[in-house]
């Protein structure tokens, strides 16, 4: 009996298709930023291959899952895998938060002569360290800097606060959805899932509106270190919310198809974990990028 406890899949073409897709995408992107005319179409092609692969591969996994050939061991493997994947994402964001703290606490004050940097004010005459750094060192007293200067601050208690409320409530609604799933309350489950997705999409909509405002008030990617950290942190976060919302939609579709029951619903939980992770990252953003 025991030799039937393991599940080992057959050979597969999906990974090699994924490799071709992702490399094509990157080669296209690299050419696109160097203004090569075929860059954009090649990048699009790569992305298409990648998406095709994701649907194919995950589709295979879904089919295997609903045909019941996965056992508890496979379920645990998926859980370990998803948790550590999310941890790797945490570390990716940590790099950008690290850059933010380094700039705020160290490099910007140093440019103003703090610490043992008594000579730097000679280099950047008239530069005053502030955070958010509205006027970049290069923009003062020097000509020809690449960085624009001067912008209006985003008020944290406007859209960002609303967005915080939206994302936090979506964390609550998805938890209700999970409870409903565990009790086999299908209608409640679907309602809570739709609520979660709507909250996520609203968040994204407000975020885009807010980008528009910020950009209009002069805060650009090229506004120096504040603009850099602001847009990369919020941008990667927004990207993750988008991916999360797409995954939630797929899960909703699978719920409607009846793929899950109160016992077996790892895919749901994995996506829920991911959603909570996106939530926590936003809290960090709200506190350290918008508020303090």
């Amino acid at each position: 009996m025991s030799n039937q406890n393991y599940y080992i899949p057959h050979g597969t073409y999906w990974p090699i298709i994924g490799s071709i897709g992702i490399s094509t995408m990157f080669v296209g992107f690299a050419n696109l930023i160097h203004d090569v005319s075929w860059g954009a179409p090649v990048m699009g092609l790569g992305l298409t291959i990648l998406v095709f692969m994701l649907f194919g591969w995950l589709g295979t996994v879904v089919n295997e899952s609903i045909s019941g050939i996965y056992n508890k061991q496979v379920d645990r493997t998926f859980r370990w895998g998803m948790s550590w994947f999310i941890f790797s994402e945490v570390m990716f964001f940590a790099a950008f938060f690290g850059a933010l703290f380094y700039a705020r606490i160290l490099s910007v004050p140093w440019l103003d002569g703090a610490g043992n940097n008594m000579f730097t004010p000679e280099l950047w005459e008239g530069f005053k360290a502030t955070w958010p750094l509205v006027n970049t060192p290069g923009a003062i007293g020097q000509s020809g800097t690449a960085f624009s200067t001067g912008f209006e601050l985003v008020n944290p208690w406007g859209l960002p606060a609303i967005n915080t409320a939206l994302l936090l409530s979506s964390g609550v609604t998805i938890t209700y959805a999970h409870h409903a799933l565990r009790k086999d309350h299908r209608n409640a489950l679907i309602a809570w899932m739709i609520a979660t997705i709507v909250l996520g999409v609203l968040f994204l909509g407000f975020q885009i509106t807010e980008y528009g405002h910020a950009y209009h008030e002069g805060l650009k990617l090229t506004s120096g270190i504040y603009g850099s950290t602001f847009y990369l942190l919020t941008g990667f976060h927004g990207f993750h919310v988008t991916v999360g919302a797409i995954m939630l939609t797929v899960i909703l579709y699978r719920i409607q198809k009846g793929h899950f029951n109160s016992e077996n619903h790892f895919a749901f939980e994995g996506v829920a974990w991911y959603w909570h992770f996106v939530d926590v990252v936003w809290l960090g953003l709200f506190v350290f990028v918008y508020w303090l």
């Binding site: 025991s2 030799n3 039937q4 393991y6 599940y7 080992i8 899949p9 057959h10 050979g11 597969t12 073409y13 999906w14 990974p15 090699i16 490799s19 992702i22 490399s23 990157f26 080669v27 690299a30 930023i33 591969w57 045909s67 050939i69 056992n71 061991q73 645990r76 370990w80 895998g81 550590w84 994947f85 941890f87 790797s88 994402e89 990716f92 940590a94 790099a95 950008f96 690290g98 850059a99 380094y102 700039a103 490099s107 910007v108 440019l111 043992n116 940097n117 970049t136 060192p137 290069g138 690449a146 960085f147 990617l221 090229t222 120096g224 270190i225 603009g227 850099s228 847009y231 990369l232």
Partner: protein, 536 residues
Amino acid sequence: MSTISAVAAHDDHHGPEKGLLRWVKTTNHKDIGTLYLWFAFSMLLLGGAFAMGIRAELLHPGLQLMEPQFFNQLTTMHGLIMVFGAIMPAFVGLANWLIPMMIGAPDMALPRLNNWSFWILPFAGAILLSTFFMEGGAPAFGWTFYAPLSTSFAPDSTDFFIFAIHLLGFSSIMGAINIIATVLNMRAPEMRLMDMPLFVWTWLVTAFLLIGAMPVLAGAVTMMLTDRNFGTAFFDATGGGDPVLFQHIFWFFGHPEVYIMILPAFGVISHILPTFARKPLFGYSSMVYATASIAFLSYIVWAHHMFLTGMPVAAELYFMYATMLIAVPTGVKVFNWVATIWKGSMTFETPMLWALSFVMLFTIGGFSGLMLGIVPADIQYHDTYFVVAHFHYVLVTGALWGIIAAVFYWLPKWTGRMYNETLGKVHFWWAVISVNVVFFPQHFLGLAGMPRRIPDYSLQFADFNYISSIGAFAFGLSFVLFTYIVVDCIRNGKPADSRPWYSAKGLEWTLSSPAPYHSFNTPPSRADILAESQHS
């Protein structure tokens, strides 16, 4: 449930598929391990060829063969190819081959993902190497790609390099997730954590290092990408950023990375020494704890690479003492290895020779590391050939030595055949003598002040450079013999027993040689596990 038994039975009867496509679609841990190992070996030869170019240029003072710009491209690509193309994939290959066998599992936990982890590598490697043929040449800023050399002053090909790093990192993270899931979840139910062989332990810890460090590297190259192309100011002081920030992020990845490359080698050595000393490993549990503490400490010492960047004094002191602290668990390991062979009935088959020389030569590298960790001393040593000597002792006679030792030790299990012992010994002595001729004189060069990464040098450095280059050519040539030995073993070797080393312990030796396609279909019993454990 019937499908599973059908799948398992099917594979058991037929083994691997026929034809070349087998290698593209395989989900088998042994096939994927083999792919990793051959890929790593070809990258080792390529990176080695670059090193030959470097040493040929440095044979004599003055510019001999190439433009300085091309020299810099060679040093950069040599470092990148060796780290990301040779050492890391080779250890993942070993993990693939060995971990399922060592923990009594049939395969890795995520076989399809395993295939993808490998099949990203050739693509990433191709993108990286293609930069040689682009306008402006390949990246020339060193494997550490410091800003602003890599941002304001780098060729266009740098963006391709960035994406290659993204791909390599992606592959490593997926590989690490797979190894964690395998060790924690596919282990024979009767095997407790503290029964696991040390190679499994060291790889488990390495996998955590990978998951913590590789995403940070991805962050660093992403900031480079936006600084280069989209006008961000992360590493540019005119915008309020700081080029030194790049170094912090890079080394937050970089120092764990060097332990990623050495911990699995520690594991390998902890298997080989007991076998040929015919004694149990000394201090199994202290080995486990030492591995874990090295991993933890490796996250909090990164700025010892940056003592000369003008950090605040408090930071210099902190990073100096934290660095010294790593020597403690490392010392525990060396002590345990020596205690393992102490009064053992040693024989000196090829794997043992590699393992013993690992202990000695890695320790030399550890000592030079300690010297570099002393702030006032490092002001003298930094960016000289002393650093080059240090990291080649820990990486070549450390990491690479561990890999070669592992190849000789487990080759009979992989191929079912024995290699030629005489040739193995000849190759070992050839390599171990020549490698010291290459790298030992570099200590003296560095102490005398010869800077690294410069194609020319002043006359007083001529003799030692000449010696080093001659040693390098001899060392490079030794890999021709190595290739021959391995191919000869696969083709003509005498059949090997399931336990070719008389007193070797470990579940892998309970399987036939060559090992069956799916390692363990039935998990081994508690008694088997204890009989094969490394406990004393």
